[in-house]
Symmetry: C2
Subunit: 503 residues, 2 copies
Amino acid sequence: MASLRAAARLRPAVTRITKSSPRFYGAAAAVKSSPSSGEQPFFPDEPAGPTVKTAIPGPQSKKAIEDLHKVFDTRSLNMLANYEKSYGNYIADPDGNVLLDVYAQIASIPVGYNNPSLHKVALSEKMASALINRPALGNFPSHDWADVLRSGILKVAPKGLDQVFTAMAGSDANETAYKAAFMWRRQQERGGAHVEFTEEDMASSMLNQAPGAPQLSILSFKTAFHGRLFGSLSTTRSKPIHKLDIPAFDWPQATFPLLKYPLEDYVEENARIEAEALADVERIITTHHLPPCAVVIEPIQSEGGDNHASPAFFRGLRALTKKHNVLMIVDEVQTGVGATGKFWAHEHWNLETPPDMVTFSKKAQTAGYYFGNPEMRPNKPYRQFNTWMGDPARALLFRAIIEEIERLDLVSNTAKVGEYLYGGIEQLAKQYPGEFMNLRGKGQGTFIAFDSPRRDEFLKKAKSVGVNIGGSGERAVRLRPMLIFQRHHADMLLEALEKIVKS
Amino acid sequence: MASLRAAARLRPAVTRITKSSPRFYGAAAAVKSSPSSGEQPFFPDEPAGPTVKTAIPGPQSKKAIEDLHKVFDTRSLNMLANYEKSYGNYIADPDGNVLLDVYAQIASIPVGYNNPSLHKVALSEKMASALINRPALGNFPSHDWADVLRSGILKVAPKGLDQVFTAMAGSDANETAYKAAFMWRRQQERGGAHVEFTEEDMASSMLNQAPGAPQLSILSFKTAFHGRLFGSLSTTRSKPIHKLDIPAFDWPQATFPLLKYPLEDYVEENARIEAEALADVERIITTHHLPPCAVVIEPIQSEGGDNHASPAFFRGLRALTKKHNVLMIVDEVQTGVGATGKFWAHEHWNLETPPDMVTFSKKAQTAGYYFGNPEMRPNKPYRQFNTWMGDPARALLFRAIIEEIERLDLVSNTAKVGEYLYGGIEQLAKQYPGEFMNLRGKGQGTFIAFDSPRRDEFLKKAKSVGVNIGGSGERAVRLRPMLIFQRHHADMLLEALEKIVKS
């Protein structure tokens, strides 16, 4: 830790950029000359560090928020932003505050604010056409849609999954995957794709009754989060405030293995916890009154408090789903696109057979689900369909994001910087007992979290020392930096974390 | 009719544009000099008429579709498009075919392909920033979000509704409106916004059980369409193929008044049909085992077959919902933004009090729901929330669409052209008995439909005479031209309709 801290001290972590600076983002020399890492900054013009000029929200922000509230609910507002002045890892506000952003729009900004490569694509004729000639993709796809898919979304498809159904956001990505699962199961029960629906199927479906609207379920896990529309919310089990007063399907939830930390001290106990969780899954699959046709799971439960499980657990889950002819849907909405040091978090598991479906959104800036098995295509057209079925403009943007990730080797960067950052917080945890509890995310890139005894206060204080951080669950501080987060940013973040607990 | 037809005959409705034409869209002289209407074309460079060079799909399209099918389900494909060559009311394909498009991406293109005003906005720095710095709107809205809302989405808010919740597409626009309705009702049952949730509410909600997940419903109508996610699909009653194999809530459906045409011949009978439908609504509201907290209704049932009801019916429905303390959600996803000759179709009804919520998508190129009553804002933050909560890029586009609608007075245009077109089809219906049945949409702009005895064949033939038309329900031909559809386009369409039934 001493060497890390020494390196961080070589320059002030919080630099004030004055109004008289010749360029707003002109103070990068300190970064470039940083001797600690020898790294080249991805954004040479990035600020050298955060600037905190006022309390947040400051007077300008307060005025604007009050005005916004008249037409838009601002009670969940965290910070009013000025995106024109945000750059790279830094988010700006109307009061001239510039924070190191390790929350990144709830884990959704992949390659930095105002990324120049993305900016170029955004201003291209292809993008303009995609924006103003938005097709009903299922009916009138563009002649180059196959090319856009192959050179973008499908280029990064998880191993074994060569098809995609495009959607709009995480919730409908999951719900369309659930729909595919229900159709697959019922098709199987009927005896195959060639078997026609019965009159009873058709008539009862129109009445929202079985067998047309089947008595089946999706199995999810306690403390899971899969979205907030009616089907996805029925699989979400994060917090009451997410679910209260909304009708839900009587779908089951299995125990998620809540591991004890540090992992090395609880090897046997954690193995037992995971075995019990798998037994719970099997019990539900074999006994629930609404048989699950699929299990949906996040590689790391994100909204639910950053809960991890071992690769062995996920392999065990895969084996169970295979054994009982249940589909496995991996929800990579928050974990996907590089943040865990692999492009897809489930690559950490070394599964023998790929998941049946993998859903994505957030850092992809578009959404949908991948699948490999042709049986996931329903037996007739118009069963899985809607007007837009995604957004080609966002598909073009995802392609540009993928190119930027490849050009700068950002998945490797995230793996390496994550390791460095994890080591730093591990040291802090020893230095400040009880302040950084249950540190988790080792070997998972920058997808790191810890529990704080005064979490909400911790997050508030973070802003005052120049960092924008988010929470998850009841007491976790979750780190979700962008993929362009580098060692010198990690140094600044470590210094800030220490300041927060020392103050 | 004679005068209409004569005008249409002044120039060929189907003009072949040869490869040697100096400009692809250069043949507009005929349009400009059209003596029948004296109108100025909105798109002076638009083709003078359709070009049909090959069967559709032609050889180029067939090749590309086969390739696309390897990675994307093309079984619902209607026509492969080339959007770079589409312009105004005309959609082009890879084989050089250019069709007059009166389907417009399932009623979703408002002001023409490659509209120059939209093109300019799409290439602006503001748009680029919105695309590449996509915020989590509920947490980190941009400092100018209030301005974007006020100068765009809210500028066209229905009377009495001054708030908006932004979403991504029609389905989630409806589902978030449903969520607002459930929260409103439960809040009322608890005794107001200040009353806290009980422990039982919270605990049971996490188990998907009542009272936390309440035994309440949304009431919709037979043959309605409100989307295809789990909650919205439970209110959709269009066709079995939309609903089969998907679990559904046991929510009720009321009879929609299926009127008889021509209306003037069935005044009394239709009044009785509507009275019975209202009685059915009241019966369900007062007796259903899952009490409805809201009624959702389309001003014109669109996917379900273009079913209309009278303003008196909707006023009666409003009175019933008021009487029984049930919310009225008007789903203007397909009818909204000008197509019926009013900006919102429900303006035709002269309601005494505005609907509680109005949902929108499609021609708005973004989505969400309007509301006026502050009680539709849940009592706590994070109850109605998701990561993106819409898309500022699409909000900027909607603003540009609104400006274009105002600049060209397109709602009035649509009212006038719709009247002209309706008159033309009325004549055709007399001339060709049994071919244009149950003509509907009088006074509803270009939102016109009729039943065809051989509907699917009719739609296929339309392409061969240069027109792209869509169907709805089992046998309706639905016209959904853009708002820039003019009298000379109507003449071409009328000529094409006649050709189809004559062939």
